[in-house]
């Protein structure tokens, strides 16, 4: 048997690193969310735990861990536990195909800062996104509570509706770049311009749909506390509730990384090839650039949440089916026409 142990070790280190970073970013997104909310609402925000409240996420996590865990008597115990676990696992799975940076060369080995550069990267993301609904549906149903069930049905139909427009907006991008590998899409932007310049409408559609896919305001109808008493995680307590809330922040982080990679050049930054620095240093700077882009997107997610009120459910559905999908189809048609024109002239 011939197993490349260095390869396996490299991948294990990379996977653990990406998971830890996702969790830490998600943790500090909760802190960021409170700070952004407090700035927008002219308050101070968390400032007791540590400098500027920086230890607040640890305090929150500790609180959730030590809360009493309640499983409703008439619920399906196995599915009740499976729900938040699935939500968390699916949220962490997408990070496998995102290129977090170019290659590093350490002691003669070339290490790609991407866990798996598969040639169907974007389809993989669609597969994982379409699975995201199971955690919410199972949790809502297993709680044996009508409010939870209503919320999970809302969430499922919302995610299915916006997946369509999201897919159509990506098809336009694929027609332009001609590849399904996210790494290659980033490399093309490194040498050409950022895709957002060529696909502005596609980017806007993708952005709106990712708000809907992450259940973020103004699309957080599945956790509308004024009508549903809290939504699909109504019956959850302790760390199971924490998993649901945490999965939302991981999803936000991953969609920000995805938008940065697909439309804003990923780990590339202007003049990165003409600085004349060592390749390893350029790679590290590129990863830093990617994270700056991600933080900008995360801030945008929060900014919108504390600025725009929630839609009504029929408005949400009308926006999805009557505006987003026709717009995405038109975008696809225009892109197709331009690609055809440029390939024949």
């Amino acid at each position: 048997m011939n197993i490349d142990w260095f390869f396996i070790l490299e991948k294990i280190v990379l996977i653990s690193g990406v998971l830890v970073i996702s969790l830490v970013v998600a943790m500090y997104s909760t802190w960021g969310e409170r700070k952004v909310a407090s700035i927008i609402q002219d308050r101070i925000g968390p400032n007791r735990a540590g400098f500027m409240g920086l230890l607040q996420p640890l305090a929150d996590g500790g609180k959730l861990f030590f809360k009493e865990e309640i499983i409703p008597g008439n619920s399906n115990r196995f599915l009740f536990i499976l729900g938040p676990s699935l939500a968390m696992v699916v949220a962490c799975m997408t990070s496998a195909v995102i290129p977090w940076g170019d290659t590093l060369t350490i002691a003669g080995h070339t290490i790609s800062l991407q866990i798996a550069d598969i040639n169907i990267g974007i389809l993989y993301i669609f597969g994982v996104v379409s699975l995201g609904v199971y955690g919410i549906m199972l949790g809502g149903w297993a709680s044996n509570n009508k409010y939870s069930l209503l919320a999970s049905v809302r969430a499922a139909s919302q995610i299915i509706s916006y997946e369509l427009a999201m897919g159509l907006s990506l098809i336009a991008l694929l027609m332009m770049t001609g590849t399904l590998s996210i790494k290659e899409i980033v490399e093309q932007q490194r040498h050409g311009g950022w895709n957002v310049l060529y696909q502005p409408l596609g980017f806007v559609i993708f952005l709106v749909c990712s708000f809907a896919e992450c259940n973020r305001t103004p699309f957080d109808l599945s956790e509308a506390e004024s009508e549903l008493n809290g939504g699909y995680h109504l019956e959850y307590s302790s760390m199971k509730l924490g998993f649901y809330l945490f999965a939302e922040y991981i999803n936000m982080f991953i969609s920000s990384a995805l938008m940065a990679s697909l439309y804003f050049g990923g780990y590339s930054f202007p003049y990165m090839d003409s600085l004349g620095l060592a390749p390893n240093l350029v790679t590290i700077l590129g990863t830093v650039a990617l994270f700056i882009k991600i933080i900008c997107f995360l801030f945008f997610f929060m900014w919108v949440r504390w600025t725009i009120p929630r839609f009504r459910y029929d408005q949400l559905m009308r926006l999805g089916w009557n505006y987003m999908i026709p717009l995405a189809l038109a975008n696809m048609l225009i892109t197709g026409a331009i690609v055809l024109y440029r390939s024949t002239h």
Partner: protein, 167 residues
């Protein structure tokens, strides 16, 4: 050691897929059946990947696990089917099912016993990769492809008409 990495993965995938497929038909709770079916789809997608048909694997997951099974779950959850209210089948129905299933197994065995299947080398064929698949679909099989797209379109129009009638 006589086994390669591929054989180990194949064995694990096959065992999981057989166990979860049995779970689909043996479990009393319909939601558990659906979940077992989803696991089965995943293992079958794993087999596709081992045959280097990545596109087929991912589409299999998107369409079956991601869309169709969600609708199954919807229906089961909204009708609130439980293990307690599952109807008891009549005895003669069980016997008839067992006999016809056994007969089908016999026919399949008889048909496949003499069949000569050339083994596919896992990982050798490049046909499953997406660019090759696209070129084949749009050059060699463009007419069947378009015909099936018209079939989908008519199904979509039908669904919209049925949905409109109530409102």
């Amino acid at each position: 050691m006589g086994m390669s990495l591929q054989q180990i993965v194949f064995g694990v995938l096959s065992i999981i897929s057989i166990i979860s497929a049995l779970g689909v038909i043996l479990s009393k709770n319909p939601v558990t059946s659906v979940l077992c079916l989803i696991v089965t789809f995943f293992t079958i997608a794993g087999h596709y990947i081992m045959l280097n048909a990545q596109f087929l694997a991912v589409v299999h997951i998107i369409v079956y696990a991601g869309a169709i099974m969600v609708l199954f779950l919807f229906v089961i959850m909204l009708m609130n089917l439980n293990a307690e209210i599952e109807p008891q089948k009549r005895n003669w129905l069980k016997y008839a099912g067992a006999i016809s299933g056994g007969a089908l197994l016999l026919v399949l065995l008889g048909a496949l016993r003499e069949a000569d299947v050339t083994p596919i080398q896992p990982g050798a064929a490049e046909i499953g990769l997406i660019s090759n698949l696209g070129k084949t679909l749009f050059n060699q099989y463009v007419v069947p492809f378009e015909v099936s797209s018209i079939l989908f379109l008519s199904a979509m129009v039908g669904a919209v008409i049925i949905g409109k009638r109530e409102a």
